[in-house]
């Protein structure tokens, strides 16, 4: 399934900057960055659970915010993109 992950991490302190980097790395592991703190991921149910589990270990629930939107349906239909778009569909041939 396709999901959309967005986050705000409070970065006033250095510990916040560290959390921000960790959150970004986890998201990167499961999907791709489409905007600064927005990731689109194509995952299975178990991968989703694993991802959420890892994210919850990192974020500070008092200060940070994490939102995950499930995109039910074909991504091409449920997402409208305007402007710059670097999304790569990993189901298509990957030839470098």
């Amino acid at each position: 399934m396709d999901i959309l992950v967005t986050y705000d991490v409070e970065t006033q302190e250095t510990s916040g900057q560290k959390r921000l980097r960790q959150v970004a790395t986890i998201c990167q592991n499961f999907g791709q960055r489409v905007q600064k703190s927005v990731f689109e991921c194509r995952v299975t149910q178990s991968q989703l659970e694993e991802m959420v589990h890892q994210l919850l270990r990192v974020i500070d629930k008092e200060r940070d915010s994490l939102r995950i939107y499930m995109l039910y349906g074909d991504r091409n239909r449920v997402v409208r993109v305007y402007g710059r778009d670097d999304y790569i569909d990993y189901d298509h041939p990957i030839i470098v």
């Binding site: 990167q28 592991n29 499961f30 999907g31 194509r42 299975t44 990993y90 470098v96």
Partner: protein
């Protein structure tokens, strides 16, 4: 079948470097990041020629069961990396055991041949519908294949079976020539030539078979079978005999017809091939790119599978049949049923 069809990452830009970054693979070229993909999307990494893979990435792939395959810059198979032997030892023992039972060897080997011949015939029959003007010569070949199919089960020894297959194959390839819709002399095809392929069509066929063989090896390993212990093909060190057995039934549908479409739709042209000294013709980097992109697309096309009665992407056909093979070898089912295209 809960397996999903994972994507294959093909890297053929000479001088690329692949490395691991957390759970993703990064492809770099001249120090710049070209691509970053989470590993969970990838089932196989295929690299051509001068492409480097970092030891960490290689290690990760092997432990996660991602196949890594090397081809040389001309697309000839070199090596594949395999991790620790895993899978079911009892299944492999059953696989060896069948080898000692001549009757069962014949039984299974003849299914592979039957599958291949029936699918070859279907390829020609479809062509009769599409090109009525070629009907007479094609019908003759179909008749000969019909005859051969009836004789499959009458063969007493493996060598007779192999002879029958060889004969049918020559009939098929003779007729195959007339399925090519191109007036360009460059794409003239006379007969099947391997090691080396001597014309563009043969270059495409060889490349398609090579890729398909790798898919079959992965599929067999996926269900825990030893790809080297085969029945129709003689055992030889380093030869994936069982994968070569399994590929037979898929050749006409997944390779031959695919190549035919590529050529007939004029997706490949003269500039996609390299002429090598000694008369060898091989796909070059540009040609391979076109080839692999269409091949990958085709793998995602779904068909209704006649045996398991489910929709299956073409890329998973070898997996489905590797599983049926395992069930046969374990004795769960009485006969192995090859894939028969509609």
């Amino acid at each position: 079948m809960i397996r999903t069809l994972l994507n294959t990452l093909y890297v053929q830009t000479q001088g690329s470097y692949l490395r691991l970054d957390h759970e993703t693979v990064i492809v770099e070229y001249e120090g710049e990041k070209v691509l970053q993909v989470p590993l969970h999307h990838i089932g196989t990494i295929v690299v051509f020629g001068n492409v480097l893979i970092s030891p960490y990435l290689l290690g990760k792939c092997i432990t996660q069961g991602i196949a890594v395959i090397w081809y040389d810059a001309y697309g000839r198979f070199l090596a594949r990396a395999v991790g620790r032997t895993s899978g079911n030892v009892l299944l492999r023992r059953a696989q060896h055991h069948v080898l000692t039972d001549e009757k069962r060897v014949m039984q299974i080997a003849s299914r592979f041949v039957a599958g291949k011949l029936r699918n070859s015939r279907t390829v020609l029959q479809r062509a009769i519908r599409d090109y009525p003007e070629r009907r007479p010569s094609l019908e003759k070949a179909v008749k000969q294949l019909d005859q051969s199919i009836r004789e499959v089960d009458k063969q007493a020894t493996l060598n007779e079976l192999r002879g029958l297959e060889g004969y049918a194959s020559s009939v098929y390839f003779e007729a195959f020539t007339s399925l090519l819709r191109t007036d360009d002399d460059f794409f003239a095809f006379e007969l099947r030539s391997r090691r080396p392929p001597r014309d563009p069509i043969n270059a495409c066929l060889s490349f398609a078979y090579s890729i398909l063989t790798q898919d079959c090896i992965s599929a067999l390993e996926g269900v825990g079978l030893d790809p080297q212990i085969g029945y129709l093909h003689t055992l030889r060190p380093g030869r994936p005999a069982l994968a070569l057995d399994l590929i037979e039934e898929f050749r006409p549908y997944l390779a031959d017809r695919f190549v035919l479409t590529l050529i007939n739709r004029k997706q490949l042209s003269k500039s996609d091939f390299d002429m090598r000294p000694g008369g060898a013709v091989l796909l070059n980097e540009k040609g391979r790119r076109t080839f692999l992109a269409s091949y990958q697309k085709r793998k995602q096309e779904e068909i209704q599978h006649p045996i398991i009665n489910q929709r299956v992407p073409l890329g998973l056909l070898p997996h489905v049949h590797a599983r049926l093979l395992a069930r046969y070898l374990r004795g769960d089912i009485e006969h192995y049923v090859p894939f028969i295209m509609r």
